[in-house]
């Protein structure tokens, strides 16, 4: 208690431990397709929390027993790199908390992925936490959305997620790890297009009076995140289209065989 009481969650100047104001999210950056061998992958960095998600599929289920006759089966596995959290030992794959994160991600995405388009197939999502500074679950959800988009899996909407903490009566958005260990928080995941909430999970108790406000602020924050992510996705798609156009130019690529093109490019 002695050490945690010296962390000032919100100081007199209305600033948080890391210099943000209550309604400011951490800096985000996104990378698409960092894993070339996956069907789709993305790395999402929110502050110092970094999560890479690789998506394989839709593909033939590895065991027949897992096949569902009318839709795709969603498999999520979560791993945490040993170096991601200083002071915390290596987490094994069987770790209960990681299993729970995985189950939460699966439940969050099941209603949004149009899995009826891929009957009798399997979509595997591998989540790897590379750096953790609070908010593993929300960042993993955001990264999964990007990776699924990268893999071209059909979805009805983006899912974006955010943690919302409560300091006395003041909601704080996107908690970093010192904040996460000190104050109660709620993780919200929503479909920003409709404002529907697919996930709202609490591990600590908060007062019921505050819940409504926190949820509403969280959903609003998800919309902001979605705009940011959509911008990145469009930018990337733009450059891809650009490249495809280049390749489609008749005098350079037209009528060539693949092997010829390889020679050209060297």
């Amino acid at each position: 208690m002695a050490s945690s009481s010296r962390v000032e969650i919100l100081n007199e100047g209305g600033l948080r431990v890391d210099g943000r104001r209550p309604y400011e999210l951490r800096s985000v950056s996104m990378t698409f397709s960092p894993q070339a061998h996956a069907d789709g992958s993305a790395t999402m960095q929110q502050g110092l929390t970094t999560v890479t998600v690789s998506v394989f599929g839709p593909r033939e289920p590895r065991s027949r027993a897992n096949a569902i006759h009318d839709r795709a089966n969603l498999v999520v596995e979560v791993g945490v790199a040993g170096w991601s959290q200083p002071g915390v030992g290596q987490r094994n794959r069987g770790d209960k908390r990681l299993t729970e994160v995985g189950a939460t991600i699966r439940q969050t995405f099941e209603p949004v992925i149009m899995s009826h388009l891929y009957p009798r197939s399997e979509i595997s999502i591998y989540v790897q936490v590379l750096g953790s500074d609070g908010g593993i679950l929300p960042t993993a959800i955001n990264a999964t959305t990007l990776a699924l988009i990268d893999a071209g899996v059909a979805m009805t909407d983006y899912i974006t997620s955010l943690s919302v903490g409560l300091h006395l009566t003041q909601p704080l958005l996107d908690l970093s790890s010192p904040e996460e260990s000190d104050i109660p928080y709620l993780v919200v995941a929503s479909l920003p297009g409709t404002g529907k909430v697919t996930l709202a999970t609490l591990e600590t108790r908060i007062h019921v009076d505050r819940f409504e406000e926190m949820l509403a602020v969280g959903v609003e924050g998800c919309k902001i995140l979605k705009a940011e992510m959509e911008g990145e996705v469009k930018k990337r798609t733009g450059t891809m289209v650009e490249r495809m156009k280049l390749n489609a130019l008749p005098d350079r690529a037209g009528g060539m065989k693949d092997s010829d093109r390889d020679i050209l490019m060297t």
Binding site: E12, G13, G14, E24, T169, E213, A216, I224, L225
Partner: protein
């Protein structure tokens, strides 16, 4: 779904490339297990941190902006004569060492407090941080916190990233020239000065960056027409290195001493001058008065480094604990450490090594051959050291050393002889090798007249003098002051700054004078300070929480459908009255009773609805929580809540409508509870009785009105309830309670006489119903909030506490005391009667009370459920609900009950166990201190009353009073007696050895005036003379008792 909040603007903070050098903080931290962990924290820089200047248009649009720094700075300083005045920038060492100066600086001086200073203070000392906070909360002061670490221009780059970040920083320097803060780091980097700088250096640099920022920032603002320039910035720091660097960069910098000496106002100069703390150590500053070029001899061994101490404590070589000084022997102290069954003894000045009562010290054990037994004699440092000269170290060095050596020799002898006497009872003995934490505060002292070299009242010369603290456990404090002669007959507040190893005494500085010795104001204030009672008037922020209508606030008419009436019962028609002691202004409780048609009785207790006015989590609530309780002194009351609430809006005055929280029972005529309900209500009290008036009304057979009948009904029930309580084993204990008669016809109240408080039937009536209410509420909130309910308990005392008393009773009176349960104790106490000695029973009860533990507040979830019980009241569960005006625990109980009955929702803080636990520990401590302060106040007035009695008797010898007293303890060389009429306890010592002591029988045989032996034993009645004696040098007065009959102690 209705929402009463608006969605705020949400943004993502994008980090720019230039900020990367500042983006992360990396540091190492040691875990509890001893592993070293690398911790990485993110950091964001901002450009929307306002400067706080009234004339700045740019910053005014930033969030949370409220300009504090005025266009015209402070003037009236000899050194800084800028036309627009100056602002002060405060370095951390000022807060850490010169907080007294800071607090007494004229409020008109604008102050910039860099967040570096604030953060470092918070890290180093929480008490100082809290004092700084109250300074910030003072709205009259112009203090601006500048969040320098968050502002882009002034943030310090993290050491780790210096090499990596250089590239990006230099690039920005090329592209844009706006990033001034960056350039500064760049240039200093090139100097190579800060390649590996310490935290302290970095913080100093951060503060200098702040200076630089303001200088450049002010250039962009057009100055106001009246002054034509901006105020100049002055860095106040006692760190010589920082000062020199700042001066070299062209800023103004000054030490506290210089700044105070340069003030043009003579009066402030003198008062502030005394507050400046002497500062030693490598950081530069003043040299201690005695050390001439470091030639001073070390009197004490140096402390070991902190790391060695911690390692030693961990490995068991050293022991850590609180240092308790012995009040009777200034050369002896002990430390409560876990390792040994008994406390570790420290004998002699060198062993105690500058520890002061309350410090957390580390002790090294001496070899067992050197272990000693505690001394049996009383050693008074005022007596032993009265010839010690405060100035001697300033005189001739050689002579000074000689006298030091002489002194040391004498002290060693006395300490050794005191300790040797009893070689059998050897105790583990050790010496202090280091201090983990100093627990110094400001102490109330008297100046020692003999230490003054110049007593001329007009002298303003600097003198070194001694101050003797009121608390006997503390050593004398040496200080330098210019006001010594005028402070001689005053009580003064002194705070200790340091205790260097070459100084016999701790060095301190003068904080403020409290007033003349024995003047009531000074005594009262010193009492409040000694017991740490917060007595400052309520600040503006707190008063702003009061209803805007002020005195004229009334309960709005019911017909208006006002929110106040929501879920509130209208009990205005009930015949409710209050019964309180005479002159009571804060009436928290009122009662009613009426027969019901079914033969049962409805009884109600109505408690002031304080939680309606005091909402959780506002400044008033925070203040009440920290005050904890109202403190009652004999002629003064220090309120917990502002008096508008306490004595008016919440007070259940008669003939007006007031908000209340009511507990209403249906009771059978035998006092059994049929049912209880709680409700918020509006009541109109019909009468405010005193205990006496209510008693008279009840006893007056001619009165048959419903109100009187109500009182009779209540009384009948109370008797039934009391019987039940006694049958369950409730104790009726006794502690002497006194009432001081004050004669107030001449403005200043003069104590005339003391008498013991009388108990009437109506006292018991009110008490019974309050207990009933508290118990019912306790049950209810415990059901609703099993984890966080605010309860009160009284632990059963360990049986060993009673052993001595049982032994005395058995041997002297042949009586036995059964302490197996509270019921057994109550019964056997009833049997302790001596027909020839009517007050004997009370005496036994008083002595039994002293064997008990103190009752305490606690949080229901923190202890196991079977320890909830209240021993004294013999109830399984108890809380405090009935006095929310004067106790904070009651306010919390009100909030929890209101939520339990669904009236409001519970504030989240009351659902947090750790929060409630913290609140309870504050309230418990405040409660204990308040009781001690109250008792000390009574004691002071008893002293005055004794004097007054003497005067009335026409004597002028300081007033000797002759009284009967009971012997409560027998010593080898004296008696402890108790004077019931005055509630005083005193020690009578015999200097001659003409008596015989029988420890087995608790008996002394003393020769009387005719030479015959007379036995005096415990419980005997004796006659004593009581007088006040005043110490000539220190003005401290103590009660002195002398035995008159059966023998005269003068001859013993």
């Amino acid at each position: 779904m209705t929402s009463n909040f608006s969605i705020p603007q949400i943004t993502i903070l994008k980090r720019t490339r230039e900020d990367l050098a500042f983006a992360q903080k990396k540091f190492l931290k040691k875990t509890k297990k001893g592993r070293v962990v690398k911790i990485l924290r993110e950091r964001y820089l901002r450009s929307d941190i306002p400067c706080g200047y009234e004339a700045c248009a740019e910053c005014s649009s930033y969030p949370g902006y409220k300009a504090v720094l005025p266009v015209e700075g402070a003037r009236g300083h000899g050194k800084f004569t800028s036309k627009a005045g100056h602002w002060l920038v405060i370095d951390t060492n000022i807060v850490l060492h010169q907080i007294d100066v800071l607090e007494s600086l004229p409020a008109g001086i604008p102050i910039i407090l860099p967040s570096t200073t604030l953060a470092e203070t918070r890290h180093r000392s929480l008490p100082l941080y809290n004092r700084l906070q109250s300074l910030l909360a003072d709205e009259d002061r112009k203090v601006w916190i500048f969040w320098n670490e968050e502002r882009r221009e002034t943030a310090t780059k993290v050491e780790r990233y210096r090499t990596g970040g250089q590239e990006s920083a230099s690039r920005t320097g090329d592209e844009e020239d706006v990033e001034d803060g960056m350039n500064v780091i760049e240039t200093e980097d090139k100097d190579g000065k800060i390649v590996r700088e310490t935290v302290n250096d970095r913080n100093d640099r951060a503060i200098r960056l702040t200076l630089e920022f303001y200088q450049n920032h002010l250039k962009t603002i057009t100055p106001s027409r009246s002054t034509a320039t901006h105020p100049s910035l002055v860095l106040l720091t006692d760190d010589r290195g920082n000062r020199e660097k700042a001066l070299a960069s062209g800023f103004h910098a000054v030490s506290t001493r210089e700044y105070v000496d340069g003030m043009t106002d003579e009066l402030t100069k003198i008062t502030l001058g005394d507050l400046v703390a002497v500062k030693y150590g490598p950081e530069g500053g003043d040299r201690p008065p005695g050390s001439k070029g470091g030639s001073a001899k070390r009197l004490y061994p140096e402390y070991l480094p902190q790391a060695t101490l911690l390692a030693g404590v961990k490995s068991g070589v050293f022991h850590q604990g609180y240092f308790n000084a012995n009040p009777y022997n200034y050369l002896e102290g002990n430390v409560n450490a876990q390792a040994f069954g008994k406390p570790i003894l420290l004998v002699g000045r060198e062993s105690m090594n500058r520890a002061i009562d309350g410090d957390v010290v580390v002790v090294e054990m001496l070899p067992e051959a050197e272990w000693k037994a505690p001394g049996q004699e009383v050693l008074d440092q005022d007596e032993a050291l009265k010839n010690d000269d405060a100035d001697d170290e300033e005189g001739d060095a050689e002579e000074g050393q000689q006298s030091e050596a002489r002194m040391a020799e004498i002290e060693k002898k006395t300490a050794a002889s005191a300790a040797k006497q009893n070689a059998v009872e050897k105790r583990p003995t050790g010496k202090v090798v280091g201090i983990v934490k100093r627990n110094w505060r400001a102490y109330v002292c008297h100046l020692d007249a003999s230490s003054l070299s110049n007593k001329d009242a007009t002298s303003l010369a600097q003198q070194t003098v001694f101050a003797t603290p009121l608390e006997r456990k503390l050593p004398r404090i040496r200080l330098r002051t210019r006001q010594a002669p005028s402070l001689l007959d005053q009580k003064v507040l002194i705070s200790i700054d340091a205790w260097p190893p070459h100084s016999r005494y701790p060095e301190g500085h003068f904080v403020r004078a409290l007033g003349k010795v024995e003047s009531k104001e000074a005594e009262q204030e010193s009492l409040l300070l000694e017991y740490e009672v917060p007595y400052r008037p309520f600040g503006r922020a707190i008063l702003n929480c009061l209803p805007v209508e002020g005195e004229s606030w009334v309960v709005p008419p019911k017909e208006d459908g006002n929110l106040i009436w929501r879920d509130r019962e209208d009990l205005r028609d009930l015949l409710i009255c209050s019964i309180d002691p005479p002159g009571c202004q804060d009436i928290d409780d009122a009662l009613h009773a009426r027969p019901l048609p079914n033969g049962n009785i409805e009884a109600g207790v109505h408690i002031a609805d304080v939680s309606h006015f005091v909402h959780a989590d506002n400044p008033m609530d925070a203040e009440a929580a920290s005050r904890g309780t109202t403190v009652y002194l004999v002629d003064k009351r220090i309120d917990m809540l502002p008096s508008l609430l306490g004595t008016n809006l919440c007070s259940l005055r008669p003939f007006v409508e007031r908000l209340a929280f009511s507990a209403i029972w249906e009771l059978t005529p035998d006092g059994d509870i049929v049912g209880v309900r709680f409700t918020k209500s509006v009541i109109a009290s019909k009468e405010a009785f005193t205990y006496q008036a209510a008693q008279n009304r009840k006893d007056d057979k001619s009165l048959q009105d419903p109100l009187t009948e109500g009182i009779r009904l209540l009384n009948r029930l109370a008797i039934k309830l009391k019987q039940k309580r006694i049958a369950a084993g409730a104790l009726s204990l006794s502690s002497p309670e006194l009432k001081i008669h004050l004669n107030s016809n001449e403005g200043a109240p003069e104590p005339i006489d003391v008498e013991q408080k009388a108990m009437l039937e109506t006292n018991s009536l009110v008490e019974e119903f309050m207990l009933l209410a508290n118990i019912s509420v306790a049950k209810r909130i415990q059901e609703a909030y099993p984890q966080t309910a605010v309860l009160r308990r009284h632990m059963p005392p360990p049986q060993t506490n009673f052993e001595t008393l049982q032994d005395i009773l058995a041997k002297r009176k042949g009586l036995s005391l059964d302490v197996s349960s509270s019921k057994a104790l109550a019964d056997s106490l009833d049997k302790c009667v001596d027909p020839g000695h009517p007050e004997f029973n009370t005496l036994v009860r008083i002595m039994a009370t002293r064997c008990m533990l103190a009752a305490e507040y606690f949080c229901a979830g923190s202890v196991s459920k079977d320890t909830f019980g209240h021993y004294g009241l013999a109830t399984p569960i108890y809380t405090h609900f009935t006095s929310p005006i004067r106790r904070y625990a009651d306010v919390l109980a009100h909030r929890q009950l209101a939520a339990a009955i669904g009236y409001t929702t519970l504030h989240p803080s009351l659902l947090s166990k750790s929060h409630v636990e913290r609140a309870m520990s504050v309230v418990n401590r405040r409660h204990r201190l308040a009781q001690m302060a109250g008792r000390a106040s009574v004691e002071f007035y008893v002293g005055l009353a004794l004097k007054a009695r003497g005067k009335r008797a026409g004597r002028d010898d300081g007033g000797v009073t002759r009284e009967d007293a009971f012997v409560i303890r027998v010593f080898k060389n004296g008696l402890a007696v108790f004077v019931p009429t005055l509630g005083l306890e005193g020690l009578i010592t015999f200097s001659k050895d003409s008596h015989e002591y029988d420890a087995e029988q608790y008996q002394l045989a003393v020769p009387n005036s005719e030479g015959n032996k007379v036995d005096i034993s415990v419980f005997d009645t004796v006659v004593v003379d009581i007088s006040l004696e005043k110490d000539k040098q220190t003005q401290r007065s103590k009660v002195k008792m002398a035995l008159v009959s059966p023998a005269d102690s003068e001859q013993l």
